[in-house]
């Protein structure tokens, strides 16, 4: 039974962490350009000398 006292807060805390992370991402505009984010990883940066 004492296990529960630890496990339930842990489970809730982890879930809450995910929720907070999602809200953060939403606010920071991480979902503004889903197609672009998927494509951007393919851009070859090597020839870009700046």
């Amino acid at each position: 039974m004492t296990g529960l006292a630890v496990l339930i807060p842990v489970a809730l805390g982890l879930g809450l962490l995910g929720l907070v992370a999602f809200f953060w991402a939403l606010k920071r505009g991480q979902f503004e350009d889903l197609d672009g984010a998927a494509a951007r990883i393919l851009i070859d940066e090597e020839d870009e000398v700046e």
Partner: protein
């Protein structure tokens, strides 16, 4: 991706958003960003691929045409995005936090509920109920807001919608569960309530995501009207001004191949103008000094100077806009199938719950117990699968259509287009391609070297006829000839040297209609006539429409002769010389006779008709007004999009109806149990998710539709 910042403290960078419809992959993104970043004065360029836009932060000294030129140098057509075509606020965004909270709470409460169902007793059970309440109540209040708000606005207008029974059910179930928790009761329904909200929000979010996506696509296309013009300054210089800054009295210099940004009067030069977007008239109109010209028309031949007489809302468009505002009652009167279903459903559910309460009271179960059973009925009948039945099917069908190049503005359009039985088609730009194409017979007759010279010459010009010639010849696999000393004389044509001989592509001296001549020294002169042609598979597409039980006919603003010719080619009946009012009246007449009318058109003159018809479709090349008024926009040259859209819409409606049968079938099984007081939270959770999964699975069948 960031360009080296230039140290120039006196000029704060300005932000310009450019619409670049041609971007579609990582390579395009890299090209666009690098091309812009390489410009002197650009601080940063960042592509948004979803919206097909690039946001450029640059020095105010750098003007928009420089950005357009930089992009066209790497092969992308672009336009600055005007304020009026800025995308409307996203519909899906406000739903996402609610969905996330419902998902989080639902999972955690379900975790606790599973241990209760598997036999947790006494203090543990109480603790779990309290924990569920602590997570559930705030989550329900937060996630339920979209429904509560919508239900409240419906009730305050004395109507009802799907959200009214949902809100009542959710509120009562939460109140009951809280009461049970406080009084050490048997069951709490937080899990079921949250799951219900989760599924409903998922359906809502899908519906909104579909609308957002289609809007982003249409927004990317909105670039037909000239967004600005080169204005001749008093001192003689040229300055580029956006169309919103144009005022009457200014003189614009309009190059060949450009669209006019405002109504005006030609002050110097003479040219011919393609007015097909505005009036449907296919023959170009000649205008010389003193003649009026209209915004949105295409300058075909010579650069001209035009004095602005009316700009912005003062143009000829105002009349058409007024007509469009007046139409559209048919559309706003349309009730979506989900709302129609809930109008029948909500009273049935509420009377069943009332009946249960009355029945158990009569049987002597006491107020408390009767109330518990009545609320169980409300929870079990809450239209969870019903909420998913329509949006999931429509989202799947719309993404299938989008893959085939048809963009649907919203789900209601898909519902309306399913019951069409008449189709009216505009001629210029809809049945035909709406742009002059070289005569294929003449091109076939051209010797290979002459064709190569023609391609070589034409590829040096941005004139619409040259571009059409390049496209047609390149499609025939012809390679351009090597030319030297290429020169273009505005309004006259192109000339060059080929193997030491003089060659030229120029305006014919006397021509009826549009044509160009190919002149190679020492060879006879070739005349290449240009004409607007029917879309390649128009006949097949019209035939398919007929087989779907839809009678097509032509409704055009062009002269009766041109309409008769197309009517003969396609075997349709046609009406010519129709003004925007005439078109609207023709539709009203058919609707009065009980027909459901589909309008297909592209021009500004079709705008009112597109808004008045039961459903409407426009090609991607249509005018702003055409695309905004239409429910569906199809890309590409093929008219096959029409039968495809109708067929898909009809299969979607079939699937939606099957979904309703499934969702209601589940209720038929579960409601008697609930009324008998036999439903536990476990049964409710299982039944709810099974019926939702069934509905989703059935809808996914639509993914292959139209293939």
């Amino acid at each position: 991706m960031t360009a080296t910042a230039r140290l120039q403290p006196d000029a704060a960078p300005v932000t310009t958003v450019m619409v670049v419809p041609g971007m579609h992959c990582a390579g395009c993104m890299a090209k666009v960003e690098r091309a812009l970043a390489a410009l002197d004065g650009v601080e940063e360029a960042r592509v948004n691929l979803t919206a097909r836009q690039v946001r450029v932060e640059h020095d105010p000294a750098l003007e928009v045409p420089a950005l357009v030129d930089a992009l066209s140098a790497v092969g992308f057509a672009s336009q600055p995005r005007g304020e009026e075509v800025a995308p409307p606020p996203s519909a899906v965004k406000p739903l996402l936090p609610a969905l996330a909270v419902a998902g989080f709470a639902c999972m955690n409460v379900m975790l606790l509920s599973v241990s209760i169902w598997s036999g947790a007793e006494g203090a543990t059970k109480e603790l779990f109920h309290w924990l569920s309440a602590a997570i559930g109540v705030p989550a329900i209040i937060y996630s339920g807001m979209p429904f509560f708000r919508s239900a409240w606005s419906a009730l305050s207008k004395r109507t009802t919608n799907m959200d009214v029974p949902i809100s009542i059910g959710v509120t009562l179930a939460t109140a009951l569960s809280l009461y049970e928790t406080m009084n050490h009761g048997q069951d709490a329904w937080f899990d079921g309530t949250l799951m219900l909200l989760l599924f409903l929000l998922a359906g809502r979010a899908l519906d909104a995501a579909m609308r957002d996506r289609a809007r982003a696509g249409v927004d990317a296309l909105l670039r037909q009207a000239a967004p600005g013009a080169m204005v001749v300054a008093k001192e003689g210089g040229l300055q580029w001004l956006p169309s919103t800054d144009l005022v009457p009295g200014m003189v614009m210099r309009v190059a060949a191949g450009e669209r006019l940004a405002a109504d005006g009067e030609v002050v110097s030069g003479a040219s011919r103008f393609d007015q097909s977007l505005l009036t449907g008239e296919s023959a170009p109109i000649a205008a010389a000094s003193g003649d009026p010209v209209l915004a949105g028309t295409l300058n075909l031949e010579n650069p001209v100077d035009v004095r602005v007489t009316a700009a912005g809302s003062g143009t000829t468009l105002a009349e058409i806009a007024r007509l469009m505002e007046a139409s559209g009652q048919v559309r706003s009167a349309y009730v979506r199938i989900a709302d129609r279903a809930s109008r029948l459903y909500a009273p049935a559910v509420h009377s069943l719950a009332a009946l249960t309460f009355a029945g158990w009271m009569l049987a002597g179960a006491g107020v408390y117990q009767s109330l518990v059973y009545a609320i169980a009925v409300l929870i079990i009948t809450c239209p969870c699968a019903l909420g998913l039945a329509v949006p999931v099917a429509q989202v799947v069908a719309c993404s299938a259509l989008m893959k085939r190049g048809v963009m649907v503005k919203d789900g209601a359009a898909l519902e309306r287009i399913a019951d069409i039985d008449r189709a009216l088609l505009d001629k210029t730009g809809t049945l035909t391609l709406g742009r002059p194409l070289p005569d294929p017979v003449t091109l076939d007759a051209l010797p290979a070297d002459a064709a190569a010279v023609a391609l070589g010459l034409a590829s040096h010009s941005r004139h619409p006829l040259s571009r059409a010639l390049v496209e047609a010849l390149a499609a025939r696999g012809i390679k351009p000839a090597e030319l030297t000393e290429v020169g273009e004389e505005a309004g006259q044509g192109l000339s060059a040297l080929w193997q030491g001989r003089k060659v030229a592509l120029r305006r014919p001296d006397s021509a009826s209609g549009i044509a160009t001549t190919l002149d190679i020294e020492g060879q006879p002169v070739w005349l290449i006539p240009f004409a607007d042609r029917l879309r390649p598979d128009a006949a097949a597409a019209l035939d398919k429409l007929r087989r779907l039980g839809i009678e097509p006919s032509i409704l055009s603003g062009d002269n009766p002769g041109a309409v008769a010719e197309v009517a003969r080619e396609t075997g349709l009946t046609g009406q010519g010389n129709a003004s925007p009012q005439d078109k609207q009246e023709a539709i009203a007449r058919l609707q009065g006779a009980g027909h459901k009318v589909l309008m297909a058109g592209d021009g500004l003159n079709d705008g009112p008709a597109l808004a008045a018809a039961n459903a409407s479709i426009a090609p991607g090349t249509a005018s702003d007004v055409g695309r905004q008024a239409a429910d569906l926009v199809f890309l590409g040259d093929s008219l096959e999009a029409l039968p495809l859209a109708v067929r898909t819409a009809r299969s979607t409606m079939r699937v939606v109806k099957q979904n309703f049968v499934m969702a209601i079938g589940y209720n038929l099984l579960a409601v008697p149990l609930a009324m008998a007081g036999l439903v536990t939270p476990l049964i409710a959770a299982v039944a709810m998710s099974t019926s939702s999964l069934l509905v989703i699975g059935n809808s996914l069948r639509l993914a292959g539709v139209g293939r």
